[in-house]
C-alpha cells in the first residue's frame, strides 16, 4: 500500500469537488460510527455539513434518561429469568433503538476487545454487569475501564482467574492483560508475565463479586516493564497502561475497527493518534473525534475498506428500513453466523475483516437476509416494504435500487448492475411487494453490500 502521510491523514477533512460531502460520505460516517440511519437523516446530514454531523454523532445524541431506564428495566427482567440468549437479544434491541449510536458501537468494540463469553461464565447477572461496565466507560476513560474490567467477576471467571494464590500465581490473566488488553504481542517478556502475575495474587471471585484475599497476596517486590516495587494489582494495571506501547496498541485497534481492515496501519501513521490518547490521558472521545474529522477517514483508504460484521449487516438494514421483526430469531441467527454478542468465540474476540467472509459465511449472510426480509414477522415501519417505500416516494424498482444503494452500499451500484437486478426482480411473480423484496435481497447479497 502507498505510504500515507500522517500529517495529511489526521488533518481535518474539508469537502472539495473531488471529494465532496454527499450521501455516500454521510452514509459512510453513520455506518462506521453506528449501525446506519434512514434516508431522511442522511439528507439532513448532507445539508448540515460534515463538521456539524460529526459533532452531533460525538456529543449531541445522548440517550434520553427514559430510554436508559427502559433498557435497565428490560435487562433486569432478563437477568431475573437467567436467560443469556435473551440478554443478547436485548442488546440488539438497544443497538436498534438507541439514539447514541456511537456509544453503542464503541461498547460493541470493547466487548470484542475485553472478550468474555457467556458460554463459560453462564451467569446472566455477571455478564450484564460487565456489559454495563463497558458501556459506562466506552467513550470515557480507558484506564478506569481497564482497572474495573480487571476486577470484573465475569472476566476473572472467563480467564480462569477466580482464584489466584501467592504460591502459584495465575499467569493467564497477566498475559491477557498485556497481550490482548493493553500492549499487544512483542511488548513484554515472559518474565514480565511472571512478575505481573504476582501483583494479582489474592484476587478472587466469591458469590459473584470480586474479593481481595490478603492472605493469598504476594506483598513482595516485583519488577516488570521497567518498573519495580511492591506493586498492588491496581498499581500494576496503571503502570501497564502508562507504557508507550499501550497508546499505540489502542490506537491501532481503533483504526482497524473504525477506519480500515487492511492493510495494518504503520506505526508512523498511528503515532499522532497515540499521542492524542496520551495527551487526553486515555479519554477515548477525543481520539475518536480526531478519527472522524480526519482526511483519512473520508479517503479511499477508509471508504469501503471494511467488511461489515454480521451485527452491522443486520442492524444496519433494520435501522435503514425501520424493520421490526422477531429479534430473538435474529440473535440466534447471528450466533450461528459466529457473531453472537455475549458469546465471543475466544479470548481474542472477533478477528473481523476478511474472516467474516468465506464460502460458508457468505451463503449464511444471504440466507439470514432472505429470512429477515421475507419473514411473516417482519414489517417495514409497520407496513409492507412496498408501502414503506411509497411513503418515501419510491414507486418503481429503479427508484428503489437507487434508494437501497444510497442507504447501504459503500460503493454506489453502477447503472448496469441496477438494470440487471431490476430485470431479475421483475421476473418475480405475484404481488409487487415481492418484486421489491426480491430486489432488496439481491442487493444485500452483492459484494458491494458486504462492505461497510
Amino acid at each position: 500500500m502507498n505510504h500515507i502521510d500522517p500529517a495529511w491523514a489526521w488533518s481535518t477533512f474539508q469537502p472539495t469537488n473531488r471529494r465532496p460531502w454527499n450521501l455516500t460520505q454521510a452514509a459512510h460516517l453513520y455506518r462506521r460510527t453506528g449501525f446506519g440511519v434512514r434516508r431522511g437523516e442522511l439528507q439532513r446530514a448532507v445539508a448540515g455539513g460534515v463538521q456539524r454531523c460529526v459533532k452531533q454523532v460525538l456529543h449531541d445524541n445522548q440517550e434520553p434518561q427514559s430510554f436508559h431506564d427502559e433498557m435497565t428495566r428490560m435487562t433486569r427482567s432478563i437477568v431475573a429469568s437467567g436467560n443469556l440468549q435473551s440478554l443478547a437479544t436485548a442488546w440488539l434491541y438497544r443497538m436498534l433503538k438507541t439514539s447514541d449510536q456511537l456509544h453503542e458501537k464503541t461498547t460493541l468494540f470493547w466487548h470484542g476487545h475485553f472478550a468474555t463469553s457467556a458460554a463459560k461464565v453462564e451467569d446472566a447477572f455477571m455478564m450484564q454487569q460487565q456489559n454495563d461496565l463497558l458501556r459506562k466507560h466506552a467513550i470515557g476513560d480507558f484506564g478506569e475501564m481497564v482497572q474495573e474490567i480487571s476486577q470484573n467477576p465475569a472476566m476473572l471467571l472467563y480467564l480462569d482467574s477466580a482464584n489466584n494464590r501467592k504460591t502459584h500465581p495465575n499467569e493467564n490473566f497477566a498475559r491477557e492483560l498485556m497481550e490482548l488488553f493493553c500492549l499487544g504481542e512483542g511488548n513484554y517478556t515472559e518474565q514480565d508475565i511472571r512478575e505481573l502475575a504476582r501483583c494479582f495474587t489474592g484476587w478472587e471471585v466469591r458469590n459473584r463479586a470480586y474479593r481481595f484475599n490478603k492472605y493469598q497476596h504476594d506483598f513482595g517486590k516485583k519488577s516488570f516493564l521497567g518498573t519495580q516495587g511492591a506493586l498492588t494489582g491496581q498499581q500494576a494495571v496503571a503502570h501497564v497502561i502508562s507504557t508507550p506501547a499501550a497508546s499505540l496498541f489502542i490506537a491501532r485497534k481503533l483504526v482497524k475497527y473504525y477506519v480500515m481492515d487492511e492493510p495494518a496501519a504503520a506505526d508512523e501513521l498511528l503515532a499522532p493518534l497515540a499521542q492524542r490518547l496520551r495527551k487526553d490521558q486515555f479519554q477515548i472521545r477525543g481520539t475518536l473525534e480526531m478519527i472522524f474529522r480526519s482526511n483519512l477517514f473520508y479517503s479511499e483508504h477508509a471508504v469501503a475498506r471494511k467488511i461489515k460484521s454480521p451485527v452491522e449487516l443486520v442492524v444496519g438494514i433494520m435501522r435503514g428500513l425501520s424493520i421490526k421483526t422477531d429479534l430473538t430469531q435474529v440473535a440466534q441467527r447471528l450466533l450461528e453466523l459466529g457473531h453472537g454478542v455475549y458469546f465471543p468465540p475466544n479470548v481474542k474476540g472477533w478477528d473481523g475483516g476478511r474472516t467474516w467472509i468465506n464460502s460458508s459465511t457468505l451463503l449464511g449472510r444471504s440466507n439470514l437476509m432472505h429470512e429477515l426480509i421475507h419473514s411473516e414477522n417482519t414489517t417495514f415501519d409497520n407496513k409492507s416494504l412496498q408501502a414503506h417505500l411509497q411513503n418515501n416516494r419510491i414507486h418503481s424498482l429503479a427508484q428503489a435500487a437507487t434508494y437501497f444503494s444510497d442507504l447501504f452500499c459503500a460503493v454506489p451500484l453502477a447503472d448496469n448492475t441496477k438494470d440487471q437486478l431490476i430485470a431479475s426482480a421483475q421476473k418475480e411473480t405475484g404481488h409487487t411487494d415481492q418484486q421489491f423484496k426480491s430486489l432488496l435481497h439481491q442487493i444485500v447479497s452483492l459484494p458491494q453490500f458486504q462492505l461497510g
Binding site: S77, A80, Y93, E122, R208, M318, I323, K324, T325
Partner: protein
Amino acid sequence: MFCARLLAVYCLIIAPSAISAQTNFHNLLPESTAAILQIQEPGEILHQFLTHPVVNSVYDAGLYDGFIKDAQRAQIETLQTKIQDVTGLPWADAVKQATSGGVHLAFDPASEGVLLVLRGDEVVLNKVFDAVLSFLQPLAALSGNPLKKGEYREGIIGYQIQEIRFAKKAGTLVVTNSRDLGRFVLDQLIDPTTHPTFASNENYQAATVASEPREHTAWFWVDAKLLQQHNGLEQLEQAMRQNMLLELLAGGLVNQLAKSPYITAAIDFDHQHLKLELTTAHDDEWIPESRQYYFGPDTNGSAPSLLLPTNTIASISMFRDFSPWWLLAPDLYDDDVNEGIAQADTTLSTFFSGKDFGTDILGALEPGAQLVVTDNQFGNDAPQPDIIFPAFAIVGTLQNSETMQAELRRIFISFVGFLNVVNAMEGNPQLDIELVDSKKDRMITTAFIPPLAGQPISVQHNFSPTIVFQGDRLILSSTRLLAEQLRDDNHSAKPANRSGSKANWTTNSQLTLLAAPLATILQKNRGILITNNMLENSSDREGAETQIDLLISMVQLTNALDITIRSTSKQLALSVELKFQPDSK
C-alpha cells in the same frame, strides 16, 4: 371463487316459508347420507354472537380487522345494507326471522353432494332471498358465470351459479353442489316416498340416545366410516405414537373413535358458555391390552376428585394405570420414543436404588393421579423472585405405603443432596431440609437459603420441593405452602362422578383451568412478558404493554375452561366447555 363461497355462506340468511310438518329434514335425505349438521335457531346464535361481551371486546380492541380482509368486509356490508333496504328490518333481525325454522347441512358421499336446507318466516325470507339474489347476480355475471334459471317440476324454479344449485319449494330452500342430491331432496319434498331415507339410519338413531339434537345450539353427526376410510384418524394415531403425553391424555379416546360407527358433536353457545361435546360409541371389546391402562380392566376406571386448593390455576385428575402404560410402551410408541423411554428407565431405576421403575415404582401407585397448579405464594420473610412460576403438585395413592414411604423418603433426601452438590458447583443457592412429623402425616420440606444482601433473587426461590406422606396418600409439591394446603384439605374434595344424569356416567379424566388466578399470575409476570414481547416484535414498551394487557383482559373475560372425558358402558364423551364471566360488559 369468492362468489361461490359467499353464496354458500349467505344461503344461511335465505329461507322461504316453513315446510310441511310431516316432511322433516331426515326424511329429505338419502339413506347414504354420512354427515349432518343441525342448527335449531341460527338467528339466536347470531344475536348471542353480536351481543357477546368477549366478541365486543375483540372488536373494541381492533382485533376484528385481522379476521376479515377489507375487500370482503366491504362486500359483507353491502349485502347487509341490501337486506335492510329490502326487508325494512335491521339485518340481524331479518336473518333471525329468515332462519327461525332452522338450518341443516348434510353430506352424501354417494353423490359427493353437500346439502344445505333452510327454513323460516316465508315473507321475510322471500325478501332476504331476493336481496341476496340481487347481490349475487351482478357478481356472477362479472365472473363469467351468469345466474342460470329453469323450472324443475311442479313449478319449482331452480337457480345455478357455477356448480351451486338452489331451489325453493313450499317453504324450504335447498342448496347443493350435486344435481342428483338436489333432485332427490326436491322429489321428497314434492312426493314423500316410502323408500328408505336417512331417517332409518340405525347409527344415527343410536347417537341420538346419548345426545338429543334439539337440546343444543348446533348438533353434528358423522358416520365414522367416513373418517376411517379417509384415514382421518391416522394422523392423530401417528402423532400419539410420537408423543408420550398425547397418548397418555387421549390414547383411549382416539382408540374408541377409530372403532365407533358414529361420532356426534353438540355445541352450546350463549353468554354464559361455549361448550362442545363429542360423543362416540364405547365397547370394552374394542380396547386392546396396550390401552387398558386408560380405562381400567373393566373400562370403569374412575378419576379421583379434582384438587381445588386456594388460588388454583389448573387442576387435572385422571384414571390411568401408569405401570402397564410404561411397561407396554413398545406397543404404544415408535422407535424413537421407545429409545428415550429405555434410557429414562435405566436412569430412573438407578435413581430408585436399582428398583425397576415400571414395575416397582409405578406399580406401587394406585391407578389415578391428581395434578394441581396454583398461583405461587411467598411467606412474609421468604425472598420473592422477579419472575413468579406457578406452584404445582402431584397427588397419588400408594399401594404398599409402609414400604414405599421409607423408600421414597430416602430417595427424596438423596435427590435434595444431589441438587445441592450441583448447585454448589454452579454457584447457585442451596436447599435446607426440614422434617415435620405429626400423628397423621410426615412432611419433608426444603427451602433455598436466601441470598446475601445486594445479590439478585434467582428464579429458584420459586421452589421449595416438599413431599408429604399422609397414610396411603402421597403429595409431591414444588412448594411447602401448597403441600401443606393439600395436606390440610384432604377431606374437602368433591367426588368426581356425577349422579342423577340420565345415564350412569363415569368420569375418566377431567381438567379445569380457572381464569382469575391465571390472570393474577400473568399480571405478576407482566414485566417479563412485556420484555419478551418487545424483543419478539422489536416494539416499544407502549405497544408491548397494550398487547400484554389485552391478553390479560381477554383471560379475565372468561371464567373457566373445563374438559371432561366420561363414559358409560355404551358411550364415550369428551366435553370442552369455556365459561364466560357472568354479567361482563
